[in-house]
Symmetry: C2
Subunit: 215 residues, 2 copies
């Protein structure tokens, strides 16, 4: 049988989380780190899992501004402009402001920078391009799937993908299905993804047209 060389049984398996540093905090799925328009002096480092920065509206709809991944530090501004929620079960490490200072190079909130990229990707682009861009975006952040080698855990629900890209959940599904049919990706499980043709994905991410000709 084929097993990955990493000690995957002790990390990232999510079944029996090993005991952690006391300074680590574990949050359940959909738990809120902090609310928009709330004072939040602390900064939070993602150790494991994924966090979404989301703007909530009165009518119940929402716009996801950015995702945070292990290694990212959510630099909380004086007044939050978004709510931070756990996409998956998360392990977090709170920081105090003092030890941070040097960490954040530009002094600019990461979510703000990310939102510019998002605007660029969503503005005047079709759903196909957006999804391709998204897949490339998250590629380096997705954890390995412990069960299948070569596969990554697609931890973001379709729901969130849609609200991030400004499309409906249904078209998000259809777009992914189309990519799979074209052999650009594979989806062995709903929460598992294999990247097959990154070059083609990159090409699609650029264009605004439904060019399905080659490959």
């Amino acid at each position: 049988m084929i097993l990955t060389t990493s000690a995957s049984h002790s990390l990232l398996n999510g079944h029996t989380p090993p005991p952690r540093d006391l300074r680590h905090k574990v949050l359940a799925r959909n738990a809120v780190l902090f609310w928009q328009d709330e004072r939040q002096p602390q900064a939070i480092e993602i150790v494991e899992g994924a966090v979404r920065a989301v703007r909530l509206f009165d009518d119940g709809s929402r716009q996801i501004l950015a995702f945070f991944w292990p290694g990212d530090i959510i630099q909380a501004a004086a007044l939050q402009r978004y709510t931070a929620e756990a996409v998956t079960r998360c392990v977090l490490r709170p920081h105090n402001h003092k030890e941070l200072g040097a960490l954040e190079p530009s002094g600019t909130d990461q979510a703000l920078q990310a939102s510019i990229s998002l605007l660029a990707a969503t503005g005047k682009k079709c759903a196909t391009s957006r999804m391709a861009w998204f897949l490339l975006q998250i590629y380096e952040h997705l954890p390995q799937d412990p069960r299948r080698p070569q596969a990554l855990r697609f931890t973001i629900p379709r729901n969130d993908v849609a609200d991030y890209l400004g499309i409906s959940m249904e078209t998000a599904c259809r777009t992914l299905a189309a990519f799979r049919a074209r052999g650009l990706i594979d989806l062995p499980t709903r929460k598992t993804i294999c990247y097959r043709d990154m070059v083609q994905l990159a090409r699609i991410a650029q264009s605004n047209k439904s060019e399905d000709a080659e490959t």
Copy 2:
């Protein structure tokens, strides 16, 4: 005859610009303040006119991230993430970094913050809502029209409005025409606008549906 109490004949008339402080710089329409990915240590204050922050793409398309208005200061980050261009003829005042320090409260680039609002407005909203939101956005910044009282100079070309809201120029036109037909605004001239029903505009800006029932 009715005249505004301000000394409007010496300011904002745009025909024969009065001689200015030597530290003021005048830029022609569409002139570039600085390019994206360019080092730009200075900060620039808008004295008169309008400036757009725009992200340019290889295929010739673009996404406008924000507009800057008189009083705004473009805080140039270490590395620019957008190009700044003059929408109209502009009067600018360069600042050096030292005297700024205290000015920018959050230390965050204004364009970045604005892009979050833009995302919120454009994501998953119809063209009508976007345009209503835009009109409310720019209301307080538009200069008076010297010719007609009560009218404001609609200095942003339809072109730019479209690339800002992520819609085509044609739908931008149609949407404005619809608002005029409904009596929400008036457009005495292409470059002139009268706001008639701000409350209704605000209502439309919220919703994502084409609710045209009441006026």
